[in-house]
Symmetry: C2
């Protein structure tokens, strides 16, 4: 067992998620090897990074000497991972990557599992787009099936002109049209499943996006009912089972009344789970590592009300942030650029009213 | 301000305390440079280590390029630090090191500040030892003035034969004889003082030693009264003021009824403060970094009952430890050797009864 706790963990991707995995893993005695083509990525401040392409043979050879391999982002070449999986345990399983990389496969998977989703239709020709718009109606959202993130690769269609314009912008790619959901709020559920099948669920959290990028998470989601939590857990349980999943998975949901519609899942630790570092009994990063190493998972309960604010494209007055009681600053070691996530702040409080006061103080600094 | 949050921090010593400083510092955006003559020290897993002597000119030159320099252990050559302090801010101040390095200077400092201590006397000759034994009585403890740690360099004197034997063992060194205190329990207070003078106090904790090595800390100390906390804080306030202190300091105390006798202080983060990583609003490691960087300190309140168990000279079944709810494992990346601190476990619980149950489970694994 203690060997397992001194394992070498290979990670595809060396961004902030990888960095936070490493910071959670050192106390467990783990060592890390990151592969990421972008030299000097956030994880490289505290671990070895191979600045090589994900499919590079030298990178795969080095990774095959690890005790386990995982990913901190979902757009790893599935072929490379499948080849590697014959030589070293790779978790989550490559099929989870494959499904998550294609919005059509993802939504179809949800549908087959009776996980409610917004209406959707595959679009690969202009004629299919017109048919899809006729079937789904406006407003709706046209998205590339692959490589979208943080609102990139998608267009909201409200008028016939939007349809023309969006087709010109995105028509080169395989697409999916999805109904625009007039949601009450956006939620997400982060879960971890161990090699043993043991599964823990963090509480549903409430997310607020701006320009397609997550801005704020409140945890647990205010006014969370046991029914809503149970519904979300039932969705994720089906998904974890179907994918024979090991590791942390996040499911993004739209709440409409008492209904939950699945938007997408991430086969990895997730921005809406960053609050768990200070806010939960066990962080999503530690539980992901425990899961892929075959160790038991830690409890996922919240310690109390918490909120997470992303720092996007901007620095912030660290002195002022740290003067807010129970505010915790996380820099990723990245140069600020517009739209780039460079850090986050988690703030806790004994009650929601105090949390709101602290959020008001922090909002003035952003 | 944000520059301060991206500073390069130089650290004398690269043991587990340095490693935990680095893990607390990366989220603040800090970078680290460790100096420690023992190659492959714990901090080297996650930061650059110069394997050079503390007084080495090349090491000092590299450290002088840091934004601030600090220490993770107290036996750094004071001369080297004084020279360095002319070129780069060094915190805590060298005088704190100087006083902490010499048990006689330390006890004398306590005395001058009206901080109660066990009776003590300087001993440099056999005649002085006999006079000290006559004045202080038996049992008492003969200690080297310098370089003692984890119970090393000290002998308990109960009989005249013990006096002879102890003199033979320790007589080569400058010594101090201290009364043996029949204490009710051992406590310690960890505090942090910022450059601004802002000071925070963690709650008093209860420590249990075995063979001179800390085995267990309970935090907050059971049955802690506001009076006892206030008395300990008044001691530490005097000490911090006298030393013009910046950083984390730990004061070890003996409780005898309602009295507190100061045993020694550590001018650094302390083993009895490891529980603060999961158990307090802000960890001692983060507050030490905030202090030396001139940032505001975070609250030092406990989140609830917690306990810390040292892993000494032994591995442990990680799987079994992590199956205990809210147990957190910390490996230092050291090879187990008898008497060597190789890691620790912190366990939290909503109440003391549950904490005791969890400690019982953990005790079976050690």
């Amino acid at each position: 067992m203690s060997e397992r706790a001194h394992s070498l963990v290979g990670v595809f991707g060396a961004g902030q998620l990888g960095r936070m995995l490493a910071l959670a893993g050192y106390p467990l005695g783990l060592r890390f090897l990151f592969v990421d083509p972008s030299e000097g990525s956030p994880a490289s401040a505290c671990a070895e990074q191979l600045a090589l392409d994900y499919g590079d043979e030298q990178a795969l050879t080095r990774l095959s000497s690890c005790d386990v391999v995982t990913y901190e982002f979902e757009n790893v070449p599935v072929d490379a991972v499948r080849r590697l999986a014959g030589r070293v345990p790779c978790f989550p399983p490559p099929r989870a990557l494959e499904v998550a990389q294609d919005r059509l496969a993802e939504k179809t998977c949800f549908q087959e599992l009776a996980i409610e989703t917004p209406k959707f239709a595959a679009v690969s020709t202009r004629a299919e787009l017109d048919a899809a718009v006729a079937a789904i109606g406006l407003p709706s959202v046209l998205k590339t099936r692959r490589f979208g993130y943080d609102g990139k690769g998608q267009e909201v269609l409200r008028t016939a002109e939007d349809v023309d314009r969006a087709w010109q912008t995105l028509g080169q790619s395989a697409l999916i049209l999805e109904a625009f959901v007039p949601f009450d709020r956006e939620l997400s559920l982060v879960a971890a499943r161990a090699r043993s099948g043991q599964t823990v669920f963090y509480p549903l959290v409430q997310n607020r996006h701006g320009d397609g990028i997550l801005r704020e998470t409140r945890a647990p989601a205010p006014n969370l009912t046991p029914e809503l939590q149970a519904l979300a857990e039932s969705y994720v349980t089906r998904l974890l089972g179907e994918l024979d999943y090991v590791g942390v998975l996040a499911l993004e949901l739209f709440q409409v009344g008492g209904k939950l519609l699945a938007n997408e899942f991430a086969p990895r630790v997730h921005n809406s789970g960053h609050w768990t570092i200070e806010g939960a009994v066990t962080s999503q990063f530690e539980n992901h590592l425990r899961a892929v190493l075959g160790l038991p998972l830690g409890p996922a309960a919240a310690l109390g009300p918490a909120a997470m604010l992303n720092l996007i494209g901007q620095s912030v007055d660290a002195e002022a942030v740290l003067a807010v009681p129970d505010a915790h600053l996380h820099w990723y070691g990245k140069e600020p650029r517009p739209g780039r996530k460079v850090g986050h702040i988690t703030v806790r409080a004994p009650d929601w009213a105090t949390l709101d006061e602290r959020l008001t103080l922090l909002a003035k600094l952003l």
